[in-house]
Amino acid sequence: MLVRELELDLDAFEGPFDLLLTLVLKEELDLAEVDVAAIVLGFVERLAERDRLDLDACGEFLVLVAALLELKARGLFPEEDAELSELEPEEAAEELARRLAEYRRMKEAAGWLAERLHEERDRFFRLGPAPFAPRPEHRLAPQDSDVLAGALRALAVEPPSVSLNHMALRFPPVAQFLERFRAVLRRRARFDFDAEVDGLSRVEQAVAFLALLELRRANHVSISQAAPFAPIRVTRTEETAATNERTPAWNVRSA
């Protein structure tokens, strides 16, 4: 009798034993789903069909099933490896007994439920979703219609219109800063952006920065900064110096 050819018919698996082992080792079958007791039962039944006890088969089977059980135990309680290995044999026995007792109780409870189900087999009743009507939470007391009308009137008054003036963004046009920076650059080859916009409002500073970017895009200036948040240095490019007289103002090309 070949253990590896033992045909199994389990919930999780159907086929020969060696295929089960292969699938488990390849992690294509979750060992936690496999009922090892059913495998043992299958083997014992097979064994009982024969006249002579096949010791070789028994030994092989024992080794395989023991390995399978160890794998399964590790899989089921991965976090307990360390915790349990530190136990003294007496403590381990106590812990195992506690768990076995717990399972024994639940197995017996399941037996009780099965019996109960059998006893109740002749009880027929109607089943279905409970179609309860939604129950109104509160019933309103009788109301005076004049009071209700008064309350509604108070709600119906048109609210005062809200001023949106503060929402409008007021800031100078970009062109104004372009002019201003060009004027500065005509006088000086470089200037400090932060010093130039010092004292302006936040919005004005932002517009000034846009103007600066415009100048950079037109390649009229180069911009440098030593470190993040350091002062921004603006330097006139040579080309600008040369063409300054010919194109004095911001034009379409740089827009």
């Binding site: 003294e88 106590e94 768990r99 076995l100 007792a101 024994r104 197995k107 006893e119 109740e120 009743f125």
Partner: protein, 200 residues
């Protein structure tokens, strides 16, 4: 001894009893006294008295419909003498074919619920996923919150349908945990004996 049926129209308690009959015929699940009291706008005490009348009227051997107290409420069921006819006509998908794994899982949820799948697997030594899914599908258990912490496992508890199917008044009608587990002491003694040998 057959008692005469009381169907006196004028008696207000009889009227209440008839209204309760009507509610129970329409209901698909057991109705609690409070639910009946709310529907009939009566005091719970009077409802209980009227339920006594209904119970007299709908008793085994007297009626094809029987009043029973189950799953914390009152419900009608078929009389047991009609079982065979019922079984020929009706299927019972909830009860049919509950496997050993399903019954063990059900027992664990009934005693320790709300509990999670890992907790069930820990007791049974086998992953509980398919058994739990099957019981949820049958309506015998439902999700009932999650374990504490981020991504906590779903907890399960038994439903009123579980109590009804197993003919239990409530979960406290289950046998006491202490009364279960014959031979546990024997197992413990044997394990301790093995441990003693190993240390010796």
């Amino acid at each position: 001894m057959e008692r005469p049926l009381r169907l006196v129209v004028a008696n207000p308690l009889d009227r209440l009893a008839r209204t309760i009959e009507a509610l129970l015929v329409v209901a698909a699940a057991p109705l609690s006294v409070d639910e009946i009291a709310a529907a009939t706008e009566e005091e719970p005490e009077r409802v209980e008295t009227a339920l006594g009348l209904v119970g007299d009227r709908y008793a085994e051997g007297r009626s094809g419909i029987v009043l029973e107290h189950v799953a914390g409420g009152w419900a009608f069921r078929a009389s047991r003498e009609a079982t065979e006819a019922c079984a020929r006509l009706f299927e019972r998908p909830v009860q049919r074919g509950l496997s050993q794994a399903a019954l063990e899982t059900l027992a664990i949820v009934a005693y320790f619920g709300p509990c999670t799948r890992p907790e069930i697997a820990r007791i049974r030594g086998v992953a509980a996923d398919s058994a739990v899914a099957g019981l949820v599908e049958r309506g015998l258990i439902v999700e009932s919150g999650r374990d504490d912490g981020v991504g906590g496992a779903v907890r399960y508890r038994t439903t009123p349908l579980f109590e009804r199917v197993f003919g239990l008044d409530s979960l406290s009608a289950l046998p006491r945990l202490d009364d279960l587990g014959d031979g546990i002491d024997d197992i413990r003694d044997r394990l301790v004996a093995v441990a003693d040998q190993r240390t010796a």
